[in-house]
């Protein structure tokens, strides 16, 4: 019986640990994804001028914009092409990353 409890606890701790690990992993992947945007939008989304500042952007606004670009609902020169290259899950990762950057 004690063994069984121990097993359950061990599993629970194990799961919690891997969840934390997965979370950290996701953040780095999001950071890496977002890094490609810097050429036009600046390091960490801190635009040096001309393009929108993504750092600190509201998550819903970011996701909404990307979805509109992807659907062709929002006129664009470049962003409709980039938006089509990403999944909705990736929009969410990018949105979380940029929302967490200090403006």
């Amino acid at each position: 019986m004690i063994k069984k409890y121990l097993f359950v606890i061990t599993c629970a701790v194990g799961l919690a640990f891997s969840a934390v690990q997965a979370q950290a992993e996701v953040d780095k992947h999001a950071r890496n994804l977002a890094a490609s945007c810097a050429a036009c939008h600046g390091t960490g989304g801190h635009s040096a001028g001309g393009t929108p500042v993504l750092a600190g952007m509201d998550k819903a606004l970011f996701i909404g914009s990307m979805k509109d670009f992807k659907a062709g609902a929002r006129p664009a020169t470049v962003m409709h092409q980039h938006a089509k290259g990403y999944t909705d899950d990736e929009f969410s990762l990018l949105a979380d990353f940029f929302a967490a950057q200090k403006r």
């Binding site: 992947h29 890496n32 050429a39 393009t51 470049v78 980039h82 089509k84």
Partner: protein, 424 residues
Amino acid sequence: MSINRRDFLKLSAAGIAIGAFPSIAFAKSELLKKKGQRVVIVGGGFGGATAAKYIRMWSENKIEVVLVERNKQFVSCPMSNTVLSGKRTIKDLTRNYDGLKKHGIKQIQGEVTGIDPEKQAVMLANGHLSYDRLIVAPGVDFMFEQIEGLNAKVADESIHHAWKAGAQTVALRKQLESMPDGGVFALSIPKAPYRCPPGPYERACQVAHYLKNNKPKSKVLILDANPDITSKKGLFTAAWNELYPNMVEYRPNAAVLKVDVESKTAKTEFEDIKADVLNVIPPMKAGAVASMAGVVGADGRWCAVDFLTYESKVHKNIHIIGDAISAALPKSGHMATSQAKVCAAAIIELMQGQTPDQNPTIVNTCYSMVSDIESVHVANVFRFNVEKQAMISAEGGGVSAKRSELEGAMANYWLENILNDVLT
């Protein structure tokens, strides 16, 4: 460099093996005392400088980074064709490396003379730098030998390539300025792959823009070794026809095989072309540092890498980024920075005993100025494909619907932002 007994033995053994480099002398010649984990980066262009900054930033300054670059200043190749039209000066495209200092990057201005993948050391004239991991970001070198009559000296003095922004760009502009009205500017393009696929066609636009306003009877003659325009074809041909009618002439399958310096003549398989300005862009290969590291592939030109880490397929702990790699990716400044960031993240993970990101997804956005104010672009997302072990273009990428002033403005924003991202 602190040497424990095991390392000392290893060094001694290596010293005896090659019979030339006494290990104690080697240890003494360490240029910067190595304490913790160190990444040495050779080449401070778009790729190398980005990798230096991002390794520091993302490792929270835990990993030591030494950046070796031969030039005192950074000159942007992107947009350097606009120096030819007079829209920009080379000074506008020149930056110093001071902005990288705040990241704690150790910078050495110097020429690398050799790389020892076994001892994990980079040789310079006055000593060496030991590394745990090395990033080789050498850009391209020119294969002058493929064109009879051409060499580095001729390129510097008369038949400029101006394919590395700097003195030759300025010299080519001067040749254009002294060209007579009614003259011919001949532009020779090598077979792909070469640095900046749309660059030569953008150059034709910038030269034509200058000629249209200053020497309207003149001509731009494009001698392309490729069977067709390699990038943004419809957009470039529209620009030539509509902005510079009867001024730009395009000839496919016209590889220049020989040049005559005195008569400014270029020979192709089919004809001799006498020009007033002869601008020959030779075929390219990975920069010489890649050969020193022994990481160039069987083709003798480009370096094969693992796209999760950009580590060489030949030597462990040596990574290659930018124009020098063999990939179905465009050889562009933005691409070099995107690769640099994947490489930087992977190196940090590897040094910390973690697994690198298994799904690198990167972007390329490339603008070409077709006049002084109008631009066109190509944009793509690239994803790692497990089966192919390669970076593959994602859905949705493509070129501009049409040239525009809006994109001309965006090209300028791109330049300012990417230079800030790379150098500050």
